[in-house]
């Protein structure tokens, strides 16, 4: 009886259940980040990985295609993580952008953002083709995922890709983000990542804000603002280019 009342409450307030649940997930992720990885692996990356893992486990147990949202108690996750809130929150991140920063980044800094988006997209697209995909929508979504785990799903949703392809694009972006966090301090010396200009170029090329911030923090904390400055523009440029010009190029190329 007590459980029935609780389930009835949860069903009526599914979005609030989702807020509570995601909040707890993120709290655990940041604890894991701090205590297990000493902050090397950013809490946000761990949280997204847990999200994908939960989607996998739920899919296995329910046989459904909507991950955790197929479990009735967590149906609100589909609203919270749905297209409307996703676009709303991503657009909001543009508010923190300072156009003056672009001037500071200079020609090379700005070029690095565009080169970074196009380079990662192309690499992802080529990998998708080499794995046998021929649908331009799928190729573009995976290419966009290789840019960041934001650009991937935004592109996939805009082009009408299926949920499993969007999951792949999130996973590709997540691999990139985690790899940037871990490998930056290891390769920093070899590639001359020890001054503000290099940090701005690096931020523009990599684009994953969480990866860049955590990677630079482990290399030289003084460089974080320079890398973050260009990285924040990357997602916007990616959301603009990937589901438009880059997708159309893929359509042309795939005939």
């Amino acid at each position: 009886m007590i459980l029935d009342a609780l389930y009835a409450l949860a069903a009526k307030n599914s979005l609030l259940v989702a807020f509570t649940f995601v909040g707890i997930t993120i709290w655990i992720s940041y604890k894991l980040s701090k205590h297990l990885t000493k902050g090397r692996l950013h809490g946000s990356a761990i949280a997204i990985a847990i999200g994908l893992l939960l989607a996998y486990l739920s899919g296995k147990s329910t046989g459904g295609s909507k991950g955790l949202a197929d479990i009735e108690l967590f149906s609100g996750v589909a609203i919270m993580g749905g297209g409307m809130f996703r676009d709303f929150a991503i657009v909001a991140t543009a508010f923190g952008v300072h156009v003056e920063d672009l001037k500071k980044a200079g020609v090379v800094g700005i070029a690095s953002i565009f080169i970074g988006v196009i380079l990662s997209f192309s690499v992802g697209a080529i990998v998708a083709v080499s794995f046998g995909y021929t649908d331009p929508v799928i190729i573009s979504t995976i290419g966009a995922g290789a840019a960041t785990y934001i650009v991937g799903p935004v592109t996939g949703a805009a082009l009408g890709a299926s949920s499993d392809i969007i999951a792949l694009s999130i996973a590709a972006g997540l691999v990139k983000s985690i790899l940037v966090m871990i490998s930056t301090p290891l390769v920093a010396n070899k590639i001359g990542l020890n001054n503000p200009t290099a940090a701005m170029i690096y931020g523009g090329l990599m684009g994953t804000t969480s990866g860049v911030s955590a990677g630079l923090a482990a290399t030289d904390p003084k460089l974080v603002p320079y890398g973050a400055m260009t990285a924040t523009f990357y997602t916007g440029v990616g959301c603009l280019l990937a589901p438009s010009v880059l997708y159309l190029i893929i359509v042309q190329l795939m005939g």
Binding site: I48, V91, I170
Partner: protein
């Protein structure tokens, strides 16, 4: 008021996505063409308007900043609702794409650095 910020954000998001849909119809593809990116440009433009013409005061800004801070939690929820079982069947493609994208991007840093130095030289 906080609702002003939320309202401006909603307006920009809707307008951007609408424009993206219209561009899609115009060029004849069944998709939204860069809508979220256009919405971001709109918001940046509004935020940088001369203060006399259009000014988002500090409290109204909180309505936008709240949603920008909610974006990682929303991405976590979005990840949790995907068809991850079907995606895992094609797992290596994500891993390969992610690894190669990082490798190529790292390799570009020294190249752009050289370009940056020759730019400085010209000055």
């Amino acid at each position: 008021m906080i609702i002003y910020g939320v309202s401006i954000l909603a307006f920009c998001t809707l307008s951007g996505i609408y424009l993206g849909d219209l561009i899609g119809i115009m060029i004849g593809v069944k998709s939204n063409v860069g809508g979220v990116g256009i919405a971001m440009l709109l918001l940046i433009t509004l935020a940088h308007f001369p203060k006399k013409i259009f000014h988002i005061d500090e409290i109204s800004q909180k309505g936008v900043i709240f949603w920008s801070a909610m974006y990682i939690p929303i991405i976590v929820a979005m990840a949790a609702k995907q068809n991850a079982v079907a995606a895992l069947a094609a797992g290596p493609v994500a891993l390969t794409a992610g690894i190669l994208a990082v490798a190529f991007s790292f390799a570009m840093i020294p190249v752009l650095m050289r370009f940056s130095k020759s730019e400085d030289h010209k000055k």
